[in-house]
Amino acid sequence: MSEGTLYDKVWERHKVADLPNGQDQLFIGLHLVHEVTSPQAFGMLRERDMEVAFPDRTVATTDHIVPTTSEGRSRPLADERAEEMLTHLEQNTADAGIRFFGLDDERQGIAHVVGPELGFVQPGMTVVCGDSHTSTHGAFGAIGMGIGTSQIRDVFATGSIAADKKAVRRVEVGGELGDGVGAKDVILHVIRQLGVDGGVGHVYEYGGEAIRSLDMEGRLAVCNMSIEGGARAGYINPDETTYEYLRGREFAPSGDAFEERKEYWESIRSDADAEYDDVVEVDADDLAPQVTWGTNPEQVVGVDEAVPEPADTRDPEAAASAQAHTEVTPGETMEGHAVDVAFLGTCTNGRVADFREAARVLAGREVDDDVRALAVPGSGTVKRKLEAEGIDEVFEDAGFQWREAGCSMCLAMNDDALEGDEVCASSSNRNYVGRQGSTEGRTHLMSPAMVAAAAVEGAVTDVREFDTPDAVGTEVDE
């Protein structure tokens, strides 16, 4: 049993009651809502004649089904079912008095991008959303957990979920990250070490030199993919990097209130002598950029490392089937593996820093003639900031389509989808069969910089071999 960790402290602060089934009733400090998993929950509330108990702790946006072309966003949406979902969310949030960032709001975007960048998510909170990537918010030292729709109903009705406390695993990532290597590479490497189900029953506390050195965007990417390692939540203790990120955000406290709040944030950090259920060490020194070769995020190698023989993997049968699907050759590296599509965005890598990193690679270069390349900012806020910096021009000059914010081709609930057996270099989080909208499509997960490099070469490429400027565009203070 863990003791003195951030997880223990935040849990205790939010515990409402012991439930008869042995679980805890846990208060939810922030409930993020989107159009796909909430309409059924609002319907269940109506059936029971209940109202949303804490609309002030609830924030909604639309992300999964929204078109990302500007002409596609005029109402009603061309896709009748998408229009129906959006209309339901508009009506439901208006009826309940829930703040909603819709298509007519320039701050609209992916829930896990909007929540952090507007300052809603803060250290020491419990955060839920009907989306597995709610683990993202652990980057602030919050407990972020994905929930199902019946649990959304619970949160609407009671501001709480019924939950079991999990074991806390300290994931100590040592080493210094080299040029061209970042947060995405770290988390893919962690998942390879611990497995896609290694985190079941656990919460991951990430720490160590390689984690501390990451900016908030990087930490968000790491925590985002905790769920790909089976851990429903993953977090990083808050520090000055966290506080500086929060300072000045629209919905974060300001002035004296900020300093006062910081005392709470400091108080929920894991104690120096905290006890963990277990500790694992992962070495990220000399880590190469990572690329997935298979159909789950654990099937990953360094770009300069041979794809393993199925027999040498944890699950040889799954590996053989994955390699048949992706048509990669064991014994060879992923370098030179042809790609048809480059996709940049998502709740993993759809933030300002991600696009800046990719823009450094794209500056002065062009996307390969045979590659369809999409840049989809994670939110309207991200998009406008990049445009103010001139980064959009770098993408458009290189041949990327510059789109409006949404989940887009991560799961293809809008028109952005792979076609046939297209191969995609993707900054998203899941390479499952069919995930990007075509059952024959192939997804290779990698960092934003690696996606940009693959777009230019028309094939998986080691981004470390590219000469890149230190920065592109003009940084603009807000």
Binding site: N21, P39, A53, S150, G159, A162, R232, R430
Partner: protein, 212 residues
């Protein structure tokens, strides 16, 4: 008999929520580790404001050939079954409750497997679907048995945490909270938590960040 068995216990607001002590019926084996919820219910079918039609979409792509014809996937071959037999880390990935909703509406009332992804298992608990975790060898033996005897009776006992078939009794594990919830008929947690609303409000008021 088939179907969930047990008493109807009134919940805190008087509505009947059935207790589920055991699920008896026939089995359907779906083999493979790490079967994600995108496979169980593809994203393009999530565009609906209710769960009503989800039974049509369970394993939709895997149940069809490239030309759209139904193939020999177990969900096509074992219609009428209610005990799903799976392997490791079943239901990983997306939190979509559409996945267990789809399985439930297809007919699944209990799932026996080596292990389950957490959010999926929580969703099963919310819906009153029992999950029983058994050893690898036992999971495979059950799948083998069902394939050889598709009409044979399978019984999952929530109280005993066992699956019984053909004179065999396999011990497994139902998570404690799920077991209690199913046996007591309190797997629908909204009503019981709603009785603590004042305490939830007190926690809300006591937190340093809730007056932003």
């Amino acid at each position: 008999m088939s179907g969930p068995a047990g008493d109807d216990a009134p919940d805190a607001e008087g509505a009947a929520v059935p207790a589920i002590r055991r699920v008896a019926g026939t089995g359907v084996p779906v083999r493979g580790d790490d079967i994600d919820t995108d496979q169980i219910l593809p994203a393009r079918f999530l565009k609906a404001v209710t769960f009503d039609d989800m039974g049509e979409y369970a394993f939709y792509d895997q149940r069809r050939d490239a030309d759209g014809e139904l193939n020999d996937h177990p969900l096509n071959e074992y219609r009428g079954a209610n005990v799903l037999a799976v392997n490791e880390n079943f239901g990983c990935g997306s939190s979509r409750e559409h996945a267990p909703q789809g399985l439930m509406r297809w007919g699944v009332e209990a799932i026996v497997g080596e292990s389950f992804a957490e959010i999926f298992q929580d969703n099963c608990k919310s819906l009153g679907i029992a999950t029983l975790a058994v050893d690898h060898e036992d999971a495979v033996a059950l799948q083998d048995f069902i394939e050889a005897n598709p009409d044979a009776g399978i019984e999952v006992d929530v109280r005993e945490e066992t699956v019984r078939y053909d004179g065999t009794v396999v011990e497994g594990e139902v998570p404690d909270a799920m077991r209690e919830a199913l046996l007591e008929g309190i797997w629908d947690t909204t009503a019981v938590m709603r009785t603590n609303l004042d305490r939830a409000k007190a926690v809300h008021d006591d937190l340093p960040y809730t007056d932003d």
